[in-house]
Symmetry: C2
Subunit: 87 residues, 2 copies
């Protein structure tokens, strides 16, 4: 499945969240990672993040696409990071 992870966390936790995210997904731009991932690895990513973020102050959203067949990715301006081999 294809996942887009976006996060809005307090400054002191940004590096830690990014470091965890990059173990599983491709950094795309500020606060955004994406990529192909298995169910098991997504669960592991989520539990690592849960141990790191503040449930009251931080927000991490996963958009999970079982298939990218009905999806498309368009960009304006510069491609800052990688592209998680989005079809």
């Amino acid at each position: 499945m294809y996942v887009i992870m976006v996060y809005d966390v307090e400054e002191k936790r940004v590096n830690k969240v990014l470091k965890i995210g990059r173990k599983y997904l491709t950094w795309v731009q500020n606060s955004v990672l994406e990529g192909e991932i298995t169910e098991a690895r997504l669960e592991r990513l989520k539990s690592e993040l849960k141990r790191c973020i503040s449930e009251e102050k931080d927000s991490v959203i996963f958009y999970i696409m079982r298939t990218t067949k009905y999806s498309e990715r368009q960009i304006l301006g510069v491609e800052k990071g990688g592209k998680g081999n989005f079809l």
Copy 2:
């Protein structure tokens, strides 16, 4: 179609990009908007943004889902903004 818009732009253009984005989509968290939108309105949103961003320095990515039937949205922590009636 359902669209997730993420942006990474220079500080002096953030407010303008957010203001334009909010005319078409729901603010979700820092640098992320989402929502149901027609093809025509997406084209209008993109042309407004093109007039505002720097093609060399800024980055705006649209993840476009023709259907949300094969997609899911999961969140860790707090829901900061709205939720664009993602199924």
